[in-house]
Symmetry: C2
Subunit: 318 residues, 2 copies
Amino acid sequence: MKIFDESAAAAARSRQAELTKPPGSLGRLEELAIFMAGWQGRERPKIDRAQALVFAGNHGVTAQGVNPFPVEVTAQMVANFRNGGAAINQLCRAAGADLSVIPLELDRPTADFTQGMAMEVADLVTAIQTGKDAVDPEADVIILGEMGIGNSTVAAALAAATFGGTAEDWVGPGTGADDRIFANKIRAVNAGLKRHKGAATAASILGSFGGREQAAICGAVIRSRELGIPLILDGFICSAAAGVLLVNDANALDHCLIGHESAEPGHRRLIAVMKKSPVVTLDMRLGEGSGAAVALLILRAALECHNGMATFAEAGIG
Amino acid sequence: MKIFDESAAAAARSRQAELTKPPGSLGRLEELAIFMAGWQGRERPKIDRAQALVFAGNHGVTAQGVNPFPVEVTAQMVANFRNGGAAINQLCRAAGADLSVIPLELDRPTADFTQGMAMEVADLVTAIQTGKDAVDPEADVIILGEMGIGNSTVAAALAAATFGGTAEDWVGPGTGADDRIFANKIRAVNAGLKRHKGAATAASILGSFGGREQAAICGAVIRSRELGIPLILDGFICSAAAGVLLVNDANALDHCLIGHESAEPGHRRLIAVMKKSPVVTLDMRLGEGSGAAVALLILRAALECHNGMATFAEAGIG
């Protein structure tokens, strides 16, 4: 496993102190450049290839009336991604990321987690492997996103199972729940937590609640960690999925940034327990990797400054 | 004077409601697209030409020991801007903005505002006109920035004179004040506020405290307002300069965004009294227009989504 290169990070930190600006005055942009330097193992990190992976899945828990949209919308949105019509297409173009959309057996939803395990072990393994295989070892940075009708309910269950708390702590409006749907979400998550209260490992939590896209996100996070490729998580659903890995390994997400703080209320709580700081907060709550793609714009800007600025000595200042 | 086109904004708002995403789920990106639509007077706003204007000036108040850097650094940084070595050069390249750097009589600093008026009327008029003349009428959006050793002290004085409060409310570390310099800043601002307490119009406040780059910023804001060109202000110094215009006209900054919330502590207070919301918060405190340039990245992303996404009808969803 490739580890964070402290000496490259230190060299990048020294460089930042020599650039033509008051020390620290680029704030988060400096931190991002140093983070990238450490993970890429070079004083001057680069983004020649940014890979965007969007995983899509369907969820049996939609039988509990947890989403205003029919499950068919997942496949329709996958088609929209492929036709270039979704937000993530525009944002990947703006941020210079190559988008891959990976639907996971959309016509075979995971089972309803209020009634039993969401996934058999074989399905879980397959989904994780799909996520691992999707990672391009040549990528300089990876951004992750997801699509799946009902998956904010799955995310709330995963967050509660991983970090504790009640359904009320983690359930939010998602794509736009009215009072009745919101109550159904709470009821479904509480039922799931009761049924699966013994789940104590990342695999058992994922198997209990699903879904395939969450498992694939974990696979991509695991593989990029092995390769030392820095990664940007998106919002609530993506963060809850990756957060499951912290059950097994407190350092599993050291290479991950959280791109944005979603307007989905549970995300702020999730970011806090994950001890992360979002790059931007723009009241977005779309998923698809949209917040991660916006964060990639900031990350590129950080590297432009880091690599392109003159030092005080070069500029003859001081 | 061109005004905000409510019907273009309404058309943009309708379009946002039809794009393939839950309504409102792009958050601030939707608001930015609608803002641009209203000011540009078209349902689908564009940014073919983004103009970045960075004004530089020197300040007599540096005689009060308000900055750790010598005044020569202003001219040295202007040379650095022209050689492409500063943060703003990299950020303008990343954000697709054409940078113009406009030094204002750097070898003739404004007078020390603790001792008298910073500027004669003729100097003030010239500086405002320079700002007006710098605006390209063909620009689709303008971003503003500044450079001037000592100008965070000027900004604190302008903010206090415009919005009330004490020196302590507005003075911050700036480029990196130690305790002694910080105390000098407080003392200078208090002395200036006492001396110029009768200043009650935008012109008298600007003339009292300076500086030329602040006056030029006001000129650019006035001219872009006349032309209806949306504009992104940078951090504390840029916001304090433009804020002076609110004394004369409560709508003077309706066409302005504040690009970022600076780490300079007074900026948060300033943004609140100006009733604005920053686009990003990245703990930056550099000036030069750096935060405005980062915000331009977000603005472009917002328009990419607005103009490039498919509607539900186009995508055959729902």
